[in-house]
């Protein structure tokens, strides 16, 4: 069974509130194809219909210059752009570049943080989808081979 559908069926609370929810948000299935893509551009095309983004200074991407630990890289994304619908993290050199995607309903602030894995040094891109299109900010995060953990 598709996990996305299972959530939809299981979430009785969510079901009860279905009427109150903006259409298109709740039933959003887990984007299996986008997450399965081995190429960043393909993943973005799967997810957004295009891989073209506009670099934007209005996005603050927090990521370490040198990851202390490739298994746990803290990432934060914040933006002053309005009408934000989703915020995604794309790690170009990961075997599956699309790492995580936050669906942002109206009323939720475009200010998120998470911890991700990185296989090697790579560009990390924050992609912000707004009602006006796709915007991005990118940063290189170096991943080094550890010693014995300090």
């Amino acid at each position: 069974m598709h996990p996305g559908r299972r959530l939809f069926i299981q979430g009785s609370l969510a079901l009860a509130a279905l009427a109150a929810i903006p259409r298109g948000l709740l039933a959003m299935a887990w984007p299996e194809k986008a997450f399965g893509s081995a190429v960043a551009n393909d993943a973005m095309t799967e997810l957004f219909g295009t891989s073209q983004t506009t670099p934007s200074d209005a996005i603050t991407l927090g990521a370490p210059e040198i990851a202390e630990n490739g298994a746990v890289v803290p990432i934060s994304i914040e933006t002053t752009l309005t009408g934000v619908q989703s915020v995604s993290v794309v790690v170009e050199k990961n075997p599956r570049p699309l790492a995580v995607s936050f669906e942002i309903p109206p009323g939720t602030q475009p200010d998120v943080a998470c911890r991700i894995k990185m296989g090697k040094t790579s560009q990390v891109m924050a992609v912000v989808k707004t009602e006006n299109g796709l915007f991005s900010a990118a940063k290189e995060v170096k991943v080094t081979i550890g010693g014995c953990g300090g």
Binding site: P64, E65, I66, A67, E68, N69, A71, V72, V73, P74, S76, A113, R115, T144, I145, G146, G147, C148, G149, G150
Partner: protein, 285 residues
């Protein structure tokens, strides 16, 4: 004065060489308190910008870039699950009606800073983990394996209740206690393994320098934050499990957790951090 000291050292060395003294030889050297003062002063001289109290943060006292990422992780540290599990386990009543709180001072809350302690009746160093198992056995419960999640969680919880307490390891007036301390000290400073490294080679001499892509932490403050959640392993591990890893990394055959070697080492190492505070459990890569 310096000459006098040198003469003293040389004389002792000769004594050693001729095997004229064994345990007593330590009395010719600095006592534990002199050791501790020198140990702490060494790091303060070496890293004048690092406040003494900051050494409890291990490598993050010396590596700013890594520190920021660690602070992010401490926002919601992954060891909280272990603390929670530990608290539940700690509250359990044994089949004989007793509980862990009956085995410890202050009912086991806020006692981490006095472990490991030298137990003169047993004639050996007792670590917190060992005390937990002794408590179980005394109450007719089977001991936990030392690398079990249960034991590590209990230790994590007990450390948690001791956060901010000043580490206060005592060396009682008992030649056996001093011998245990000296044996831990010798272990710490002795090269071992195929790589021929002593603990001090990495964590004193090379503290703050790179080993491959990692900076090496200072030994001062090492025991303050254990047990530690290691993101590499995805679980909380004990100090002895870390010792095990270090010894293996220098390509020596590791000793078992809670072996007399590691307990004495912990005794020495924790004594060196007397005056700092407990901040365990911790999070490390």
């Amino acid at each position: 004065m310096a000459d006098k000291q040198e003469v003293k050292v040389q004389t002792t060395r000769q004594l050693l060489i001729f095997c004229l003294c064994t345990a007593l030889s330590s009395s010719a050297y600095a006592g534990p308190e002199e050791d501790r003062i020198a140990f702490q002063a060494y790091f303060q001289t070496r890293f004048p910008d690092v406040p003494l109290a900051d050494y409890i943060n291990g490598i993050y006292a010396l590596d700013e870039g890594a520190r920021r990422q660690w602070v992010d992780i401490e926002e919601f540290p992954p060891y909280e699950f272990a603390v929670e599990t530990g608290e539940l386990l700690f509250g359990q009543i044994f089949r004989n009606g007793n509980s862990y709180s009956d085995c410890f001072d202050s009912q086991g809350i806020g006692v981490r800073q006095r472990y490991p302690r030298f137990d003169s009746d047993r004639g050996e160093v007792v670590t917190l983990e060992m005390a937990i198992n002794l408590c179980r056995q005394r109450n007719g419960e089977p001991p936990y394996s030392y690398d079990s999640d249960e034991l590590v969680s209990l230790s994590a919880y007990m450390a948690w209740t001791s956060r901010g307490e000043v580490i206060d390891i005592a060396i009682p007036d008992d030649p056996q206690a001093l011998a245990a301390y000296e044996s831990g000290k010798q272990f710490y400073y002795s090269k071992r393994g195929q790589l021929n490294f002593a603990c001090s080679d990495c964590h004193v001499t090379s503290a703050g320098l790179y080993v491959r892509a990692d900076h090496l932490s200072a030994s001062l403050g090492h025991p303050s934050h254990f047990p530690v959640y290691r993101s590499k392993l995805g679980k909380v591990i004990s100090l002895h499990s870390r010792f095990y890893g270090c010894i293996r990394d220098v390509r020596a055959k590791p000793f078992a957790e809670q072996s007399i070697e590691y307990r004495n080492l912990e005794y020495f190492l924790t004594y060196m951090s007397n005056g700092l505070v407990v901040n365990g459990p911790g999070a490390r890569k």
